[in-house]
Protein backbone atom coordinates (compact mmCIF):
# COMPACT_ATOMS: atom_id res chain seq x y z
CA UNK A 1 0.00 0.00 0.00
CA UNK A 2 1.25 3.44 -0.88
CA UNK A 3 1.72 5.59 2.19
CA UNK A 4 3.60 8.56 0.77
CA UNK A 5 2.37 11.87 -0.51
CA UNK A 6 4.07 14.87 -2.07
CA UNK A 7 3.89 18.59 -1.66
CA UNK A 8 5.45 20.71 -4.41
CA UNK A 9 7.78 17.87 -5.31
CA UNK A 10 8.82 17.08 -1.74
CA UNK A 11 8.01 13.48 -0.91
CA UNK A 12 6.75 12.58 2.57
CA UNK A 13 7.19 8.86 3.27
CA UNK A 14 3.88 8.78 5.10
CA UNK A 15 1.08 11.12 6.04
CA UNK A 16 1.98 11.60 9.69
CA UNK A 17 4.03 14.56 10.89
CA UNK A 18 4.69 15.99 14.32
CA UNK A 19 3.21 19.41 15.01
CA UNK A 20 5.29 22.48 15.70
CA UNK A 21 6.00 23.13 19.36
CA UNK A 22 5.33 19.56 20.40
CA UNK A 23 8.54 17.91 19.27
CA UNK A 24 11.20 20.51 19.97
CA UNK A 25 13.70 20.95 17.15
CA UNK A 26 13.61 17.26 16.31
CA UNK A 27 16.80 16.28 18.14
CA UNK A 28 15.69 16.22 21.79
CA UNK A 29 14.10 12.79 21.59
CA UNK A 30 16.65 11.13 19.31
CA UNK A 31 17.68 8.69 22.05
CA UNK A 32 14.07 7.87 22.91
CA UNK A 33 12.18 7.41 19.62
CA UNK A 34 12.84 6.73 15.90
CA UNK A 35 12.04 10.00 14.18
CA UNK A 36 12.81 8.45 10.77
CA UNK A 37 9.49 6.60 11.04
CA UNK A 38 7.72 9.94 10.51
CA UNK A 39 6.54 11.59 7.34
CA UNK A 40 7.94 14.85 8.61
CA UNK A 41 8.88 17.08 11.51
CA UNK A 42 7.56 20.61 11.98
CA UNK A 43 10.10 22.39 14.14
CA UNK A 44 9.40 24.61 17.09
CA UNK A 45 8.50 28.08 15.78
CA UNK A 46 11.63 29.99 14.82
CA UNK A 47 11.96 33.74 15.08
CA UNK A 48 14.84 36.01 14.01
CA UNK A 49 16.13 36.51 17.53
CA UNK A 50 15.85 34.04 20.40
CA UNK A 51 12.71 34.46 22.50
CA UNK A 52 12.52 33.78 26.24
CA UNK A 53 8.84 32.96 26.15
CA UNK A 54 6.23 33.86 28.72
CA UNK A 55 6.69 33.77 32.50
CA UNK A 56 5.26 30.80 34.39
CA UNK A 57 2.67 29.48 34.72
CA UNK A 58 2.65 28.29 31.12
CA UNK A 59 0.64 25.07 31.27
CA UNK A 60 -2.68 24.07 32.76
CA UNK A 61 -4.31 20.72 32.30
CA UNK A 62 -8.01 20.81 31.43
CA UNK A 63 -10.50 18.01 30.80
CA UNK A 64 -9.08 15.91 27.93
CA UNK A 65 -6.80 18.74 27.00
CA UNK A 66 -4.32 21.35 28.05
CA UNK A 67 -3.95 25.10 27.89
CA UNK A 68 -0.53 26.45 27.05
CA UNK A 69 1.01 29.85 26.93
CA UNK A 70 4.62 29.22 26.06
CA UNK A 71 4.97 32.45 24.10
CA UNK A 72 7.11 31.08 21.25
CA UNK A 73 10.16 30.44 23.42
CA UNK A 74 12.83 29.49 20.90
CA UNK A 75 16.56 29.64 20.24
CA UNK A 76 16.23 31.87 17.18
CA UNK A 77 16.89 30.97 13.56
CA UNK A 78 20.66 31.55 13.68
CA UNK A 79 21.19 29.11 16.52
CA UNK A 80 18.81 26.67 14.82
CA UNK A 81 20.97 26.69 11.70
CA UNK A 82 24.18 26.33 13.66
CA UNK A 83 23.15 23.88 16.37
CA UNK A 84 20.12 21.93 15.19
CA UNK A 85 20.18 21.73 11.40
CA UNK A 86 23.38 19.63 11.09
CA UNK A 87 21.67 16.80 12.96
CA UNK A 88 18.37 17.25 11.13
CA UNK A 89 20.22 16.89 7.81
CA UNK A 90 21.19 13.35 8.81
CA UNK A 91 17.54 12.32 9.20
CA UNK A 92 15.51 10.47 6.63
CA UNK A 93 12.36 12.51 7.12
CA UNK A 94 11.03 15.81 5.81
CA UNK A 95 12.04 18.85 7.84
CA UNK A 96 9.51 21.68 7.86
CA UNK A 97 10.80 24.84 9.51
CA UNK A 98 7.99 26.60 11.34
CA UNK A 99 8.39 30.38 11.33
CA UNK A 100 6.85 32.88 13.73
CA UNK A 101 7.40 36.61 13.59
CA UNK A 102 6.12 39.91 14.82
CA UNK A 103 6.35 41.66 11.46
CA UNK A 104 6.02 40.76 7.79
CA UNK A 105 9.67 41.69 7.35
CA UNK A 106 10.73 39.28 10.11
CA UNK A 107 8.91 36.40 8.40
CA UNK A 108 10.74 37.27 5.20
CA UNK A 109 14.13 37.58 6.92
CA UNK A 110 13.85 34.23 8.69
CA UNK A 111 12.69 32.45 5.55
CA UNK A 112 15.40 34.07 3.43
CA UNK A 113 18.08 32.95 5.85
CA UNK A 114 16.74 29.38 5.81
CA UNK A 115 16.57 29.44 1.99
CA UNK A 116 20.35 29.39 1.98
CA UNK A 117 20.44 26.18 3.99
CA UNK A 118 20.32 22.59 2.82
CA UNK A 119 18.19 20.33 4.93
CA UNK A 120 15.18 22.59 5.25
CA UNK A 121 12.58 20.96 3.01
CA UNK A 122 9.74 23.42 3.48
CA UNK A 123 8.13 26.06 5.64
CA UNK A 124 5.11 26.25 7.86
CA UNK A 125 4.11 29.80 8.69
CA UNK A 126 2.68 30.39 12.13
CA UNK A 127 0.18 33.23 11.75
CA UNK A 128 -1.89 31.81 14.56
CA UNK A 129 -0.08 31.81 17.90
CA UNK A 130 -2.57 32.98 20.50
CA UNK A 131 0.06 33.68 23.16
CA UNK A 132 2.15 36.58 21.95
CA UNK A 133 1.26 40.24 21.97
CA UNK A 134 2.72 41.19 18.60
CA UNK A 135 2.22 39.22 15.44
CA UNK A 136 0.81 35.75 15.75
CA UNK A 137 -2.92 35.93 15.97
CA UNK A 138 -3.04 39.56 14.77
CA UNK A 139 -1.90 38.23 11.41
CA UNK A 140 -3.95 35.08 11.37
CA UNK A 141 -7.25 36.78 12.15
CA UNK A 142 -6.76 39.39 9.44
CA UNK A 143 -7.42 37.98 6.00
CA UNK A 144 -5.50 40.68 4.14
CA UNK A 145 -2.47 40.12 6.39
CA UNK A 146 -2.65 36.37 5.87
CA UNK A 147 -2.73 36.96 2.13
CA UNK A 148 0.09 39.51 2.19
CA UNK A 149 2.40 37.34 4.29
CA UNK A 150 1.72 34.35 2.07
CA UNK A 151 2.39 36.17 -1.17
CA UNK A 152 5.52 37.89 0.16
CA UNK A 153 6.93 34.55 1.28
CA UNK A 154 5.80 32.79 -1.89
CA UNK A 155 7.97 35.16 -3.89
CA UNK A 156 10.99 34.14 -1.81
CA UNK A 157 10.86 30.36 -2.07
CA UNK A 158 10.22 27.41 -4.33
CA UNK A 159 10.06 25.09 -1.34
CA UNK A 160 6.67 23.99 -0.01
CA UNK A 161 4.94 26.83 1.81
CA UNK A 162 2.31 25.88 4.37
CA UNK A 163 0.18 28.39 6.25
CA UNK A 164 -0.92 27.33 9.73
CA UNK A 165 -4.38 28.70 10.39
CA UNK A 166 -6.16 29.64 13.57
CA UNK A 167 -9.66 28.43 14.41
CA UNK A 168 -10.24 31.66 16.36
CA UNK A 169 -12.07 33.31 13.45
CA UNK A 170 -15.63 33.21 12.21
CA UNK A 171 -14.92 31.34 8.99
CA UNK A 172 -11.57 29.63 8.73
CA UNK A 173 -12.28 28.71 5.11
CA UNK A 174 -11.96 32.36 4.09
CA UNK A 175 -8.43 32.39 5.49
CA UNK A 176 -7.62 29.13 3.76
CA UNK A 177 -8.81 30.68 0.50
CA UNK A 178 -6.68 33.76 1.12
CA UNK A 179 -3.64 31.54 1.61
CA UNK A 180 -4.45 29.49 -1.48
CA UNK A 181 -4.99 32.60 -3.62
CA UNK A 182 -1.62 33.96 -2.49
CA UNK A 183 0.19 30.81 -3.54
CA UNK A 184 0.37 28.59 -0.46
CA UNK A 185 0.96 24.90 -1.18
CA UNK A 186 -1.03 23.72 1.81
CA UNK A 187 -2.72 24.85 5.00
CA UNK A 188 -2.38 23.43 8.49
CA UNK A 189 -5.73 23.25 10.25
CA UNK A 190 -5.91 24.00 13.19
CA UNK A 191 -3.71 25.82 15.69
CA UNK A 192 -4.96 25.98 19.29
CA UNK A 193 -8.27 27.46 20.42
CA UNK A 194 -8.16 30.36 22.86
CA UNK A 195 -9.12 29.20 26.33
CA UNK A 196 -9.14 30.30 29.96
CA UNK A 197 -8.80 28.55 33.31
CA UNK A 198 -9.43 30.33 36.63
CA UNK A 199 -8.19 29.53 40.13
CA UNK A 200 -11.37 29.87 42.19
CA UNK A 201 -9.51 30.41 45.48
CA UNK A 202 -7.08 33.13 44.41
CA UNK A 203 -9.60 34.39 41.81
CA UNK A 204 -6.73 34.71 39.38
CA UNK A 205 -6.26 33.20 35.94
CA UNK A 206 -4.15 30.07 36.12
CA UNK A 207 -1.93 31.14 33.21
CA UNK A 208 0.38 34.15 33.51
CA UNK A 209 -0.99 35.55 30.25
CA UNK A 210 -4.62 35.02 31.36
CA UNK A 211 -5.67 33.08 28.26
CA UNK A 212 -3.81 30.35 26.42
CA UNK A 213 -4.18 27.88 23.59
CA UNK A 214 -6.29 24.77 24.10
CA UNK A 215 -5.07 21.53 22.56
CA UNK A 216 -5.53 17.80 22.98
CA UNK A 217 -8.44 15.41 22.44
CA UNK A 218 -10.85 18.06 23.75
CA UNK A 219 -10.51 19.98 20.48
CA UNK A 220 -10.64 17.06 18.04
CA UNK A 221 -14.29 17.47 16.98
CA UNK A 222 -13.73 21.20 16.45
CA UNK A 223 -10.63 20.52 14.39
CA UNK A 224 -12.44 17.94 12.27
CA UNK A 225 -15.23 20.40 11.52
CA UNK A 226 -12.67 23.03 10.53
CA UNK A 227 -10.84 20.58 8.27
CA UNK A 228 -14.14 19.67 6.65
CA UNK A 229 -15.01 23.35 6.16
CA UNK A 230 -11.62 24.13 4.62
CA UNK A 231 -11.68 21.03 2.41
CA UNK A 232 -14.90 22.27 0.84
CA UNK A 233 -13.36 25.67 0.17
CA UNK A 234 -9.88 25.06 -1.25
CA UNK A 235 -8.07 22.69 -3.61
CA UNK A 236 -4.67 22.73 -1.87
CA UNK A 237 -3.90 19.95 0.61
CA UNK A 238 -4.77 20.26 4.28
CA UNK A 239 -2.58 19.11 7.14
CA UNK A 240 -5.10 18.18 9.83
CA UNK A 241 -4.19 18.94 13.45
CA UNK A 242 -6.15 18.78 16.67
CA UNK A 243 -6.18 16.15 19.39
CA UNK A 244 -4.91 13.25 17.32
CA UNK A 245 -3.91 10.52 19.77
CA UNK A 246 -4.38 7.36 17.69
CA UNK A 247 -4.38 6.08 14.11
CA UNK A 248 -8.17 5.99 14.25
CA UNK A 249 -8.15 9.74 14.97
CA UNK A 250 -5.86 10.25 11.97
CA UNK A 251 -8.24 8.27 9.72
CA UNK A 252 -11.08 10.57 10.78
CA UNK A 253 -9.04 13.58 9.70
CA UNK A 254 -8.24 12.04 6.32
CA UNK A 255 -11.89 11.18 5.76
CA UNK A 256 -12.90 14.74 6.67
CA UNK A 257 -10.56 16.05 4.00
CA UNK A 258 -7.01 16.25 5.38
CA UNK A 259 -4.24 14.97 3.11
CA UNK A 260 -1.96 14.39 6.08
CA UNK A 261 -2.03 14.88 9.82
CA UNK A 262 0.15 16.34 12.52
CA UNK A 263 0.34 14.76 15.95
CA UNK A 264 0.78 17.38 18.67
CA UNK A 265 -0.14 17.16 22.34
CA UNK A 266 -0.04 13.34 22.20
CA UNK A 267 3.78 13.50 21.96
CA UNK A 268 3.91 15.09 25.41
CA UNK A 269 2.20 12.04 26.88
CA UNK A 270 3.82 9.41 24.70
CA UNK A 271 6.95 10.50 22.79
CA UNK A 272 6.33 7.62 20.37
CA UNK A 273 2.66 8.56 19.78
CA UNK A 274 3.29 9.89 16.26
CA UNK A 275 5.22 6.77 15.22
CA UNK A 276 2.38 4.63 16.56
CA UNK A 277 -0.12 6.70 14.59
CA UNK A 278 1.96 6.20 11.42
CA UNK A 279 2.21 2.44 11.95
CA UNK A 280 -1.48 2.19 12.86
CA UNK A 281 -2.52 4.20 9.80
CA UNK A 282 -0.61 1.81 7.57
CA UNK A 283 -2.17 -1.20 9.28
CA UNK A 284 -5.64 0.32 8.91
CA UNK A 285 -5.17 0.96 5.20
CA UNK A 286 -3.88 -2.55 4.58
CA UNK A 287 -6.74 -4.08 6.52
CA UNK A 288 -9.16 -2.04 4.43
CA UNK A 289 -7.50 -3.34 1.28
CA UNK A 290 -6.48 0.09 0.03
CA UNK A 291 -3.86 0.50 -2.69
CA UNK A 292 -3.06 4.00 -1.43
CA UNK A 293 -3.86 5.43 1.99
CA UNK A 294 -4.68 8.61 0.08
CA UNK A 295 -7.93 6.98 -1.01
CA UNK A 296 -9.24 7.99 2.41
CA UNK A 297 -8.70 11.72 1.83
CA UNK A 298 -12.06 13.45 1.70
CA UNK A 299 -13.82 10.11 1.43
CA UNK A 300 -16.34 10.81 4.16
CA UNK A 301 -19.75 9.79 2.86
CA UNK A 302 -22.66 11.85 4.02
CA UNK A 303 -26.29 11.71 3.15
CA UNK A 304 -26.73 15.42 3.66
CA UNK A 305 -25.54 17.48 0.69
CA UNK A 306 -24.16 20.25 2.90
CA UNK A 307 -23.60 20.55 6.61
CA UNK A 308 -25.56 23.16 8.51
CA UNK A 309 -22.30 25.00 8.93
CA UNK A 310 -21.72 25.19 5.18
CA UNK A 311 -25.18 26.49 4.54
CA UNK A 312 -24.19 29.60 6.48
CA UNK A 313 -21.01 30.28 4.54
Amino acid sequence: MKESFALRGVEFKNRVLVASGTFGYGDELKDVVDVNALGGICTKSLSWKPRDGNPPRRIVETPSGMLNSIGLANIGVHSFIQNKLPYLRTLDTVIIANIAASSVQEYCDVLTLLEGEEGVDGYEINVSCPNVREGGLNFGTNREMTQEITSRLRALTQRPLIIKLTPNVTHISEFARAAEDAGADAVSVINTLIGLAVDIYTRKPKLSTITGGLSGPAIKPVALAKVFEVAKAVKIPILGIGGIMTAEDAVEFLLAGASAVQVGTASFIDPAASMKVAAGLKAFGEKQGLADIGELVGAMESTAKVSILQSWL
Binding site: G21, T22, F23, G24, E28, L29, D31, V32, P50, D52, G53, P55, P56, R57, R58, I59, V60, E61, P63, S64, G65, M66, N68, I70, A73, G216, P217, A218, M245, T265, S267, F268, I269, D270, P271, A272
Partner: protein
Protein backbone atom coordinates in the same frame (compact mmCIF):
# COMPACT_ATOMS: atom_id res chain seq x y z
CA UNK B 1 22.55 17.89 31.08
CA UNK B 2 24.80 15.88 28.89
CA UNK B 3 22.80 13.80 26.42
CA UNK B 4 25.11 10.82 26.77
CA UNK B 5 24.01 10.12 30.35
CA UNK B 6 20.31 9.99 29.52
CA UNK B 7 18.68 6.61 29.83
CA UNK B 8 15.09 7.61 29.29
CA UNK B 9 12.78 4.71 28.57
CA UNK B 10 9.04 4.36 28.40
CA UNK B 11 7.70 1.09 29.76
CA UNK B 12 4.75 -0.61 31.35
CA UNK B 13 5.97 -1.70 34.76
CA UNK B 14 4.09 -3.72 37.38
CA UNK B 15 2.93 -2.48 40.76
CA UNK B 16 4.30 -4.93 43.31
CA UNK B 17 3.08 -3.27 46.49
CA UNK B 18 1.14 -0.30 47.69
CA UNK B 19 0.26 1.12 51.09
CA UNK B 20 -1.05 4.20 52.85
CA UNK B 21 1.96 4.92 55.04
CA UNK B 22 0.70 8.05 56.78
CA UNK B 23 -2.42 10.17 56.72
CA UNK B 24 -3.23 10.51 52.99
CA UNK B 25 0.35 9.60 52.05
CA UNK B 26 0.84 6.60 49.80
CA UNK B 27 3.80 4.55 48.69
CA UNK B 28 3.52 2.65 45.43
CA UNK B 29 6.25 0.10 44.72
CA UNK B 30 7.11 -0.64 41.08
CA UNK B 31 9.37 -3.29 39.57
CA UNK B 32 11.71 -1.98 36.88
CA UNK B 33 15.28 -3.14 36.42
CA UNK B 34 15.85 -0.26 33.99
CA UNK B 35 14.80 2.43 36.44
CA UNK B 36 16.59 0.96 39.44
CA UNK B 37 19.75 0.60 37.39
CA UNK B 38 19.87 4.11 35.98
CA UNK B 39 17.96 6.33 38.41
CA UNK B 40 19.81 8.67 40.74
CA UNK B 41 18.49 10.60 43.76
CA UNK B 42 16.60 13.74 42.77
CA UNK B 43 15.50 12.36 39.42
CA UNK B 44 11.86 11.74 38.67
CA UNK B 45 9.57 9.55 36.63
CA UNK B 46 6.59 10.78 34.62
CA UNK B 47 3.60 8.50 35.03
CA UNK B 48 0.39 8.04 33.14
CA UNK B 49 -1.96 7.59 36.08
CA UNK B 50 -4.97 6.49 34.04
CA UNK B 51 -5.48 4.86 30.66
CA UNK B 52 -7.60 7.41 28.83
CA UNK B 53 -7.80 11.18 28.51
CA UNK B 54 -8.76 11.93 32.11
CA UNK B 55 -6.27 12.92 33.27
CA UNK B 56 -4.56 13.53 29.96
CA UNK B 57 -1.05 14.40 31.07
CA UNK B 58 1.50 12.37 32.97
CA UNK B 59 2.26 13.20 36.58
CA UNK B 60 5.86 13.65 37.77
CA UNK B 61 6.98 11.75 40.88
CA UNK B 62 10.38 11.87 42.49
CA UNK B 63 11.95 8.50 43.20
CA UNK B 64 11.76 7.87 46.90
CA UNK B 65 13.70 4.67 47.32
CA UNK B 66 15.44 2.02 45.28
CA UNK B 67 16.11 -1.51 46.43
CA UNK B 68 17.13 -4.34 44.12
CA UNK B 69 14.85 -4.07 41.11
CA UNK B 70 12.02 -2.24 42.85
CA UNK B 71 11.51 1.45 43.42
CA UNK B 72 9.13 3.31 45.69
CA UNK B 73 7.18 6.45 44.90
CA UNK B 74 5.79 8.43 47.82
CA UNK B 75 3.02 10.95 47.25
CA UNK B 76 -0.14 12.38 48.72
CA UNK B 77 -3.45 12.28 46.95
CA UNK B 78 -4.07 15.77 45.62
CA UNK B 79 -6.27 15.14 42.59
CA UNK B 80 -7.54 12.71 40.03
CA UNK B 81 -4.14 11.43 38.87
CA UNK B 82 -2.71 10.69 42.29
CA UNK B 83 -6.02 9.15 43.37
CA UNK B 84 -5.88 6.77 40.40
CA UNK B 85 -2.26 5.83 41.07
CA UNK B 86 -2.96 5.29 44.76
CA UNK B 87 -5.75 2.87 43.88
CA UNK B 88 -3.67 0.65 41.59
CA UNK B 89 -3.51 -2.98 42.68
CA UNK B 90 -0.61 -5.39 42.81
CA UNK B 91 0.15 -6.67 39.33
CA UNK B 92 -1.38 -3.64 37.58
CA UNK B 93 0.85 -2.22 34.87
CA UNK B 94 1.74 1.45 35.03
CA UNK B 95 3.07 3.47 32.07
CA UNK B 96 6.30 5.02 33.34
CA UNK B 97 8.71 7.34 31.52
CA UNK B 98 12.10 7.90 33.05
CA UNK B 99 14.38 8.37 34.75
CA UNK B 100 14.17 12.10 34.00
CA UNK B 101 16.03 15.22 35.01
CA UNK B 102 19.32 16.15 36.64
CA UNK B 103 20.04 14.41 39.97
CA UNK B 104 21.60 15.76 43.16
CA UNK B 105 25.38 16.12 43.04
CA UNK B 106 26.41 13.41 45.47
CA UNK B 107 30.14 13.91 45.33
CA UNK B 108 32.09 16.89 46.49
CA UNK B 109 34.17 18.29 49.31
CA UNK B 110 31.36 18.34 51.84
CA UNK B 111 31.43 15.95 54.77
CA UNK B 112 27.92 16.42 56.16
CA UNK B 113 24.87 16.12 53.94
CA UNK B 114 22.14 18.22 55.52
CA UNK B 115 18.84 16.96 54.10
CA UNK B 116 15.85 19.27 54.43
CA UNK B 117 12.36 18.05 53.56
CA UNK B 118 9.13 19.97 53.95
CA UNK B 119 5.90 18.01 53.64
CA UNK B 120 6.00 15.59 50.73
CA UNK B 121 9.30 17.23 49.80
CA UNK B 122 10.69 14.45 51.95
CA UNK B 123 9.89 11.98 49.17
CA UNK B 124 13.37 11.76 47.54
CA UNK B 125 15.29 11.85 50.84
CA UNK B 126 15.43 8.09 51.56
CA UNK B 127 17.05 7.45 48.14
CA UNK B 128 19.44 10.34 48.76
CA UNK B 129 20.23 8.96 52.23
CA UNK B 130 21.19 5.56 50.80
CA UNK B 131 23.61 7.06 48.29
CA UNK B 132 25.13 9.44 50.85
CA UNK B 133 25.77 6.57 53.24
CA UNK B 134 27.49 4.64 50.46
CA UNK B 135 29.78 7.65 50.14
CA UNK B 136 30.41 7.69 53.89
CA UNK B 137 28.96 11.17 54.23
CA UNK B 138 27.65 12.21 57.61
CA UNK B 139 23.93 12.79 57.52
CA UNK B 140 21.68 15.26 59.24
CA UNK B 141 18.01 15.25 58.30
CA UNK B 142 15.47 17.97 58.97
CA UNK B 143 11.93 16.84 58.44
CA UNK B 144 8.94 19.13 58.70
CA UNK B 145 5.21 18.63 58.27
CA UNK B 146 1.99 20.37 59.16
CA UNK B 147 1.22 17.83 61.83
CA UNK B 148 2.68 14.70 63.40
CA UNK B 149 0.46 12.33 61.39
CA UNK B 150 2.05 13.53 58.12
CA UNK B 151 5.65 12.80 59.07
CA UNK B 152 7.37 10.03 57.18
CA UNK B 153 10.74 9.43 58.81
CA UNK B 154 11.28 5.80 57.74
CA UNK B 155 14.60 5.14 55.99
CA UNK B 156 15.99 8.47 57.17
CA UNK B 157 18.77 8.90 59.72
CA UNK B 158 19.65 11.52 62.34
CA UNK B 159 16.21 13.07 61.96
CA UNK B 160 15.26 16.40 63.52
CA UNK B 161 11.48 16.73 63.52
CA UNK B 162 9.39 19.87 63.33
CA UNK B 163 5.66 20.40 62.95
CA UNK B 164 3.73 23.55 62.13
CA UNK B 165 1.18 22.77 64.85
CA UNK B 166 3.73 21.69 67.44
CA UNK B 167 2.23 18.21 67.72
CA UNK B 168 5.72 16.72 67.52
CA UNK B 169 9.27 17.98 67.71
CA UNK B 170 10.17 21.61 67.15
CA UNK B 171 7.12 23.86 66.92
CA UNK B 172 7.58 25.75 63.66
CA UNK B 173 8.80 25.33 60.11
CA UNK B 174 11.55 23.01 59.01
CA UNK B 175 13.67 26.01 58.02
CA UNK B 176 13.28 27.61 61.45
CA UNK B 177 14.32 24.31 62.97
CA UNK B 178 17.41 24.18 60.75
CA UNK B 179 18.21 27.78 61.67
CA UNK B 180 17.92 26.95 65.36
CA UNK B 181 20.19 23.94 64.91
CA UNK B 182 22.84 25.87 62.99
CA UNK B 183 22.89 28.57 65.68
CA UNK B 184 23.66 25.91 68.32
CA UNK B 185 25.80 23.47 66.33
CA UNK B 186 28.51 23.55 63.73
CA UNK B 187 28.22 20.57 61.37
CA UNK B 188 31.48 19.64 59.69
CA UNK B 189 31.73 20.87 56.05
CA UNK B 190 27.98 20.88 55.47
CA UNK B 191 26.05 20.98 52.20
CA UNK B 192 22.29 21.40 52.15
CA UNK B 193 19.93 19.33 49.97
CA UNK B 194 16.39 20.67 50.16
CA UNK B 195 13.04 19.55 48.78
CA UNK B 196 9.63 21.01 49.45
CA UNK B 197 7.27 23.84 48.62
CA UNK B 198 8.78 26.85 46.82
CA UNK B 199 8.40 29.14 49.84
CA UNK B 200 10.30 26.67 51.99
CA UNK B 201 13.04 26.34 49.37
CA UNK B 202 13.39 30.09 49.19
CA UNK B 203 13.79 30.34 52.95
CA UNK B 204 16.29 27.45 52.90
CA UNK B 205 18.37 29.12 50.20
CA UNK B 206 18.44 32.39 52.16
CA UNK B 207 19.51 30.59 55.32
CA UNK B 208 22.18 28.68 53.40
CA UNK B 209 23.52 31.97 52.00
CA UNK B 210 23.53 33.65 55.39
CA UNK B 211 25.37 30.63 56.83
CA UNK B 212 27.79 30.29 53.93
CA UNK B 213 26.62 26.76 53.13
CA UNK B 214 26.31 25.38 49.60
CA UNK B 215 22.75 24.39 48.81
CA UNK B 216 20.95 22.31 46.21
CA UNK B 217 17.21 22.63 45.70
CA UNK B 218 14.68 20.26 44.19
CA UNK B 219 12.13 22.34 42.27
CA UNK B 220 8.66 21.60 41.00
CA UNK B 221 7.15 22.91 37.80
CA UNK B 222 3.94 22.54 35.83
CA UNK B 223 5.13 20.32 33.04
CA UNK B 224 3.49 18.27 30.34
CA UNK B 225 6.28 16.16 28.85
CA UNK B 226 9.11 16.13 31.40
CA UNK B 227 11.66 16.01 28.59
CA UNK B 228 12.21 19.62 27.58
CA UNK B 229 9.80 19.54 24.67
CA UNK B 230 6.73 21.39 25.86
CA UNK B 231 8.70 24.27 27.48
CA UNK B 232 6.03 24.38 30.17
CA UNK B 233 8.21 24.58 33.29
CA UNK B 234 10.47 27.65 33.19
CA UNK B 235 12.39 28.86 36.22
CA UNK B 236 14.23 32.16 36.14
CA UNK B 237 18.00 31.89 35.83
CA UNK B 238 20.34 33.88 38.03
CA UNK B 239 23.19 34.24 35.52
CA UNK B 240 21.21 36.25 32.99
CA UNK B 241 22.70 34.30 30.06
CA UNK B 242 19.13 33.62 29.12
CA UNK B 243 15.96 34.27 31.01
CA UNK B 244 14.80 30.78 31.90
CA UNK B 245 15.95 27.27 32.60
CA UNK B 246 13.55 24.35 32.39
CA UNK B 247 12.78 22.48 35.60
CA UNK B 248 12.43 19.15 33.77
CA UNK B 249 15.75 18.95 31.91
CA UNK B 250 17.98 21.61 33.50
CA UNK B 251 16.67 20.50 36.91
CA UNK B 252 14.71 19.55 38.91
CA UNK B 253 17.86 19.84 41.05
CA UNK B 254 19.49 23.26 40.92
CA UNK B 255 22.22 24.93 42.91
CA UNK B 256 20.43 27.65 44.86
CA UNK B 257 22.68 30.29 43.25
CA UNK B 258 21.61 29.31 39.74
CA UNK B 259 17.91 30.14 40.00
CA UNK B 260 15.66 32.97 41.13
CA UNK B 261 12.61 31.51 42.79
CA UNK B 262 9.27 33.25 42.33
Amino acid sequence: MSESVRHIAQALVPVVDRAEVADGIYVVRLRSAHLTRYAAPGQFVNIRCGDGCLPLLRRPFSISRVEGDVLDLMFNVVGQGTRMLASRKNGDLVDVLGPLGVPFKLDGDFKTAVLVGGGLGAAPLPFLTTRMRERKKRLLTFLGARSSNQLMEKHLVEVQISTDDGSRGFHGTVVDNLKRYLSENKPEHPKIFACGPTRMLKATAELADASGIECELSLEGDMACGMGICQGCPVERADGKKKYSLVCVDGPIFNSHDVILP
